[in-house]
C-alpha cells in the first residue's frame, strides 16, 4: 500500500505541474483543448490524493508499523477514532490532509462555479493546482508520510495524550479547512487579475467561499480555545502563543474583507484594497503554516522542527511577490467607481472597521515577530507574551466592538443628524444603562465595564434592527410576529445573518471580559479536608477532598481525585479530576509512553465554571494537591461560537439574492432626499 500511496503522490504532483502550466498558457494562448484538459487534471489530482489518503488510513488502521508515520503516532491500544484522527496529528500526515482537502475544494470550485465565471476557471485551476503541487512536493522531498522504517516494530509510540481528546479530532481539521479554503478566493482573485475581468464577477464567485473559509477558521479557533481550556488545565483558553496568533491573523484580514467587499458591491469602491486583502489573507495562511512547522518561533503547539519551514518560506515569498506584483500591474484598471461622500456614512464606518481589523492583525503579527526583530537589532532574546498583546490589542479590540454597533446604524453615502439621533438613541441608551448598572453593582475593572457596556450597545443595535424590520413587515403585510421575523431574515439573509454573527461576537466579548473576575487558589487536602473559595458573584464554594481511586482503562492507568462541592452550604455533587498515565505493552510489561497527563474537572454554567485540577499526590498517599478556579462567563464563549456559526450559515444559505448596489435602489433624486431624511440603509 505504501508503494501505491507513493505512486499516487507522484501522480498528483505531475498532474499539478501540468495543470499549472497548461492552465496559465492555455487560457493565455486561447487554447480550449488545454483549458479543458486542465479541468480534468484538477479532478485527476483529487482522485490521486484520495488514493494516497486511503493508503495512509489503511496503514494506520492495520497498524502497519513499518510505516514511520504510523509507528510515530499510533499504538495497538489506541482507540480507533484516535487512530483515524492520527492522520492529521503529525507533520507528514497533516500535509497530505491539507493537499487532499485543497484538491477537493479545487474540484468543487470547478464543478460548482457558475458558467458566468467560466473565463476565470482555467486560471483558478492553475493557481489551486500550483498550491497542491507545492504541498505534494514538500511531502515528496522533505516529509513523506509513506517513509518506511528499516524494520517493523511490534508496537507504535502512541499518540500524545493531550491529542487524545475529542476536541483534537475536530479542531485541527476545522482550522485546516479554514486555512485551505482561503486558496479558492485567492485563486479567483488572481484569475480576475490575470484575465483583467475586474468587475464584481469574481467577488460574486467567491462570496460563499469566503464565508465558508471564515466560518471554518472561526470554528477551528474556537475549538482550539475549547481544547486548550478542557485539556491543558491552565484555566485559560488563549495564551497569545505564536501558533494561536498565526490562526488569528487570516481570520482578522478575512473578516475585514467580508466587510469591505460590501462597499465594493454597493458603491464600486475599495477594489484595490479588497484584492490586497485576499492576497494578504492567503499569505497569512501560508505564514501560519510556516510558523507552525518551521520552529522559527518557540511555541508549545509547533510540530517537530524540520526543514519544511524553508519550503514554506520560499513559497510565501514567491506567492506574495507574484500576487502583489500582479496587483500592481493591474492598478490602473481598479479605479473606484465612486468616492466617499461623507465621513458620517456607512462606508466611512466600514473603512475604520477595516483599519482596526488590519491594525490588530498588524499588531499581532508585530508582537509575534518582535522577538526575532529584537534579536536581529539588539542581539538580545526577549519574550513577547500575553501582557504585551493584552496591552496593545485590548484597546483596539474595544474600538472594534464599538464599530460593530456603529456600522449598521449609519446610512450609506451620507447620514443626517436626524438619522443619527433616531438610530443611536436606543443602542447608546442600552450601553449606558449596562455601564451604570455594573458601576452601581461595584464593578471597577475599567476594561470590563467598557466591554460590557459596548456589548450592550451592540445588542441594542441588533435588537433595534430586528425590531424595526419586523415592525415594518407586520405593518405592511399584516404578518404575525414569528412569520414576520422568519420572512425578514429569509428575504435578506446576508444582512440579518450578519447581525446574528454580530450577536455571536458580542457574546464572545462578554465571555472574554468575564475572565477579569477569575478566582483561583491552590490547596493540599487529606481525605475529608475542605477549602473554600468565594465566587465573584458572592457565593462561597466549599470543596471537600473525598479521596483518590486508581484503575486501568484501555491504554492508561487513571488516578481519579474526587471532590465534594457545596455552594453556600448546599451540596452540589462531586467533581473528579484525573491523572492519566498512558502506557504501551512491551514483552507483556506496561511501559509508560508519555508523562502523566491531567484531566480537568469542569462544571460549566451560564454564570461561571468550576474548574478543578488534581496536581498530584503528596508522598504517594491520598493527600492531594489541587488548584481550584472559578472562571466567570466562559460558557458564553463556546455558545457565542454556536451563534456565530448559525449566523454564518444563514448568510450563505442559497437564495436571498445578490445585494443591490445602493445607487440602483431608487431614482437618484429620491435616494438623496430619503438619505437626507434619515432613512435606514
Amino acid at each position: 500500500m505504501t508503494l501505491l500511496g507513493q505512486f499516487a503522490l507522484w501522480a498528483a504532483f505531475l498532474l499539478g505541474l501540468w495543470c499549472a502550466v497548461a492552465g496559465f498558457s492555455g487560457r493565455w494562448r486561447g487554447r480550449p483543448d488545454l483549458t479543458q484538459s486542465v479541468t480534468r487534471a484538477v479532478y485527476g489530482i483529487c482522485v490521486a490524493l484520495l488514493v494516497a489518503a486511503a493508503c495512509l488510513w489503511k496503514a494506520l488502521l492495520t497498524h502497519d508499523f513499518s510505516v514511520e508515520y504510523v509507528w510515530a503516532y499510533t499504538s495497538r491500544n489506541l482507540p480507533t477514532y484516535y487512530v483515524i484522527s492520527a492522520f492529521w496529528a503529525g507533520q507528514k500526515g497533516s500535509l497530505l490532509f491539507w493537499a487532499l482537502v485543497l484538491s477537493i475544494f479545487a474540484s468543487a470550485a470547478q464543478a460548482l462555479s457558475s458558467r458566468r465565471h467560466a473565463a476565470l476557471l482555467p486560471y483558478v485551476a492553475a493557481v489551486t493546482s500550483s498550491v497542491v503541487a507545492f504541498f505534494v512536493s514538500v511531502m515528496l522531498f522533505a516529509a513523506n508520510p509513506f517513509e518506511r522504517l528499516a524494520f517493523t516494530p511490534l508496537d507504535g509510540r502512541g499518540l500524545n495524550p493531550q491529542l487524545q481528546n475529542v476536541g483534537m479530532t475536530i479542531h485541527p481539521p476545522m482550522l485546516y479547512l479554514g486555512y485551505i479554503s482561503i486558496t479558492i478566493p485567492f485563486a479567483f482573485a488572481i484569475a480576475a487579475l490575470l484575465s483583467r475581468r475586474l468587475d464584481t464577477g469574481w467577488i460574486h464567485a467567491i462570496r460563499k467561499w469566503t464565508i465558508v473559509s471564515w466560518m471554518f477558521l472561526s470554528v477551528g479557533i474556537t475549538l482550539g480555545m475549547w481544547w486548550a481550556y478542557v485539556e491543558l488545565g491552565w484555566g485559560g483558553y488563549w495564551a497569545w502563543d505564536p501558533v494561536e496568533n498565526a490562526s488569528l491573523l487570516p481570520w482578522l484580514t478575512m473578516t475585514a474583507f467580508l466587510h469591505s467587499v460590501m462597499i465594493q458591491e454597493k458603491r464600486g469602491m475599495l477594489k484595490r484594497w479588497n484584492l490586497g486583502l485576499i492576497v494578504g489573507t492567503f499569505m497569512l495562511s501560508i505564514f501560519g503554516t510556516f510558523i507552525t512547522r518551521s520552529g522559527v518561533i518557540a511555541s508549545v503547539h509547533s510540530f517537530t522542527q524540520s526543514n519544511v519551514g524553508y519550503f514554506f518560506l520560499g513559497f510565501l515569498i514567491l506567492a506574495g511577490a507574484f500576487g502583489f506584483t500582479l496587483l500592481q500591474t493591474r492598478w490602473h484598471l481598479l479605479e473606484p467607481e465612486a468616492h466617499l461622500e461623507s465621513m458620517v456614512s456607512r462606508e466611512a464606518a466600514f473603512l475604520f472597521n477595516n483599519l482596526l481589523f488590519v491594525g490588530i492583525a498588524f499588531s499581532v503579527l508585530w508582537g509575534t515577530l518582535f522577538p526575532i526583530l529584537s534579536e536581529l537589532v539588539r542581539g538580545t532574546k526577549i519574550t513577547v507574551g500575553p501582557p504585551f498583546f493584552n496591552r496593545v490589542n485590548v484597546p483596539l479590540g474595544l474600538m472594534l466592538l464599538a464599530l460593530t454597533g456603529v456600522g449598521p446604524l449609519i446610512a450609506w453615502r451620507r447620514a443626517s443628524a436626524s438619522n443619527l439621533r433616531r438610530q443611536f438613541t436606543l443602542p447608546l441608551g442600552t450601553g449606558a444603562v449596562v455601564a451604570a448598572a455594573l458601576l452601581a453593582a461595584g464593578m471597577r475593572d475599567a476594561y470590563a465595564v467598557i466591554a460590557f457596556a459596548l456589548a450592550g450597545f451592540v445588542a441594542g443595535t441588533v435588537a433595534q434592527e430586528f425590531f424595526r424590520g419586523v415592525r415594518a413587515r407586520r405593518r405592511i403585510h399584516g404578518e404575525p410576529l414569528p412569520r414576520a421575523f422568519i420572512r425578514l431574515v429569509g428575504r435578506n439573509r446576508r444582512r440579518y445573518g450578519g447581525y446574528i454573527v454580530h450577536v455571536g461576537i458580542l457574546i464572545y466579548c462578554v465571555g472574554f471580559a468575564g475572565m477579569a473576575f477569575k478566582r483561583e487558589r491552590e490547596a493540599t487536602l487529606k481525605p475529608g479536608e475542605s477549602v473554600e473559595l468565594r465566587s465573584p458573584y458572592g457565593h462561597t464554594y466549599r470543596f471537600t477532598h473525598v479521596g483518590i481511586s486508581q484503575y486501568q482503562a484501555l491504554n492508561r492507568i487513571v488516578s481519579a481525585a474526587t471532590v465534594q462541592v457545596e455552594r453556600d452550604g448546599k451540596p452540589e455533587g462531586v467533581m473528579t479530576s484525573e491523572k492519566r498515565q498512558h502506557f504501551t505493552v512491551e514483552n507483556g510489561e506496561k511501559v509508560p509512553s508519555f508523562e502523566p497527563s491531567t484531566e480537568v474537572a469542569i462544571r460549566s454554567g451560564l454564570r461561571e465554571d468550576l474548574y478543578i485540577v488534581f496536581a498530584g499526590p503528596v508522598n504517594g498517599t491520598e493527600e492531594a494537591v489541587y488548584r481550584f478556579t472559578i472562571n466567570p462567563l466562559v460558557w458564553w464563549i463556546w455558545y457565542g461560537g454556536l451563534v456565530l456559526v448559525f449566523g454564518g450559515i444563514i448568510t450563505m444559505w442559497p437564495g436571498g439574492g445578490h445585494p443591490v448596489p445602493v445607487t440602483r435602489q431608487a431614482p437618484a433624486a429620491y435616494g438623496a432626499a430619503l438619505v437626507g431624511a434619515g432613512e435606514p440603509s
Binding site: 473603512l351 483599519l355 491594525g359 498588524f362 513577547v384 501582557p387 424590520g469 429620491y670
Partner: protein, 201 residues
C-alpha cells in the same frame, strides 16, 4: 484429649452476632469524623508513579496574590512559553517552575520588592526571563509601533477622506439635475418611506 462441649444454637448465633457487631463497629469507626480531616494518615496509593510527579504540600504563600503577580511577569525556563505561576500550577511535570517559585520566595524573604525581584531575575536569566519586555529603549518600538501606525493611518484616512468628501459632488445631486422635480405631499413621502423600509426589510 478431651472433647470440648458442643456449641448450642443460641451460643452460635450470639457469637455470630458478636463478630458481626464488632466488624460493623470497626467499619463504622473507620468512617467516623475523627478519622477524617487530617487526624489520621491518608491512605497509600496502589501505584503512586501513575498519579503524576509527587507534589510538595502547598503553603499559604503559594496563594499569595503578590507572589502570583510577580510570577505572572516571569517566564518559565522549561521552554513551555508560560509564565512561572501558570506553569507551576499547570504543567505538574515541570521541574523548573517550582524551583523558580522557590527563588521568588527566597528573594521576597530577603526583603526585595516585586520590581526588585523581577530585576534580579533579568540579571540572572537575561531579558528573556520576562513575559513581556520592559517598555524602554528599543522595546518601546514593540509597544508603540502598532498603536502609532493605526493612529497615523486613521488620521491620514480622516484627512484624505474629509478632503475628498468635501469636494465630492454627491452622485444623487448630479442625477437630480436630470430628474424632473416631483411634487409630493407629506403623506406620499411617508408612504414611499414605508415602502422603502419594507423593501429594505
Amino acid at each position: 484429649m478431651t472433647r470440648s462441649d458442643p456449641v448450642d444454637r443460641r451460643g452460635f448465633l450470639l457469637a455470630i452476632a458478636g463478630i458481626a457487631g464488632a466488624a460493623a463497629a470497626g467499619a463504622l469507626g473507620a468512617q467516623t469524623p475523627g478519622a477524617l480531616p487530617g487526624s489520621g494518615p491518608a491512605g497509600s496509593l496502589g501505584d503512586p508513579t501513575a498519579a503524576g510527579r509527587p507534589q510538595a504540600p502547598t503553603t499559604a504563600r503559594d496563594d499569595d496574590a503578590e507572589i502570583q503577580a510577580i510570577e505572572k511577569r516571569l517566564r518559565c525556563t522549561c521552554g513551555c512559553t508560560l509564565d512561572v505561576y501558570t506553569c507551576r500550577t499547570t504543567d505538574f511535570s515541570c521541574t523548573y517552575s517550582p524551583q523558580l517559585h522557590r527563588e521568588v520566595l527566597e528573594l521576597r524573604d530577603s526583603g526585595m520588592t516585586g520590581q526588585q525581584i523581577v530585576d534580579a531575575f533579568v540579571k540572572r536569566y537575561g531579558e528573556q526571563a520576562l513575559m513581556a519586555p520592559e517598555p524602554h529603549g528599543f522595546n518601546l518600538a514593540g509597544y508603540l509601533v502598532p498603536g502609532t501606525l493605526v493612529t497615523l493611518a486613521g488620521g491620514a484616512m480622516l484627512w484624505i477622506l474629509g478632503r475628498r468628501s468635501r469636494h465630492a459632488v454627491p452622485a444623487a445631486a448630479v442625477a437630480a439635475s436630470d430628474v424632473r422635480p416631483v411634487e409630493a405631499t407629506p403623506e406620499e413621502l411617508a408612504r414611499l418611506r414605508r415602502a422603502l423600509a419594507d423593501s429594505d426589510a
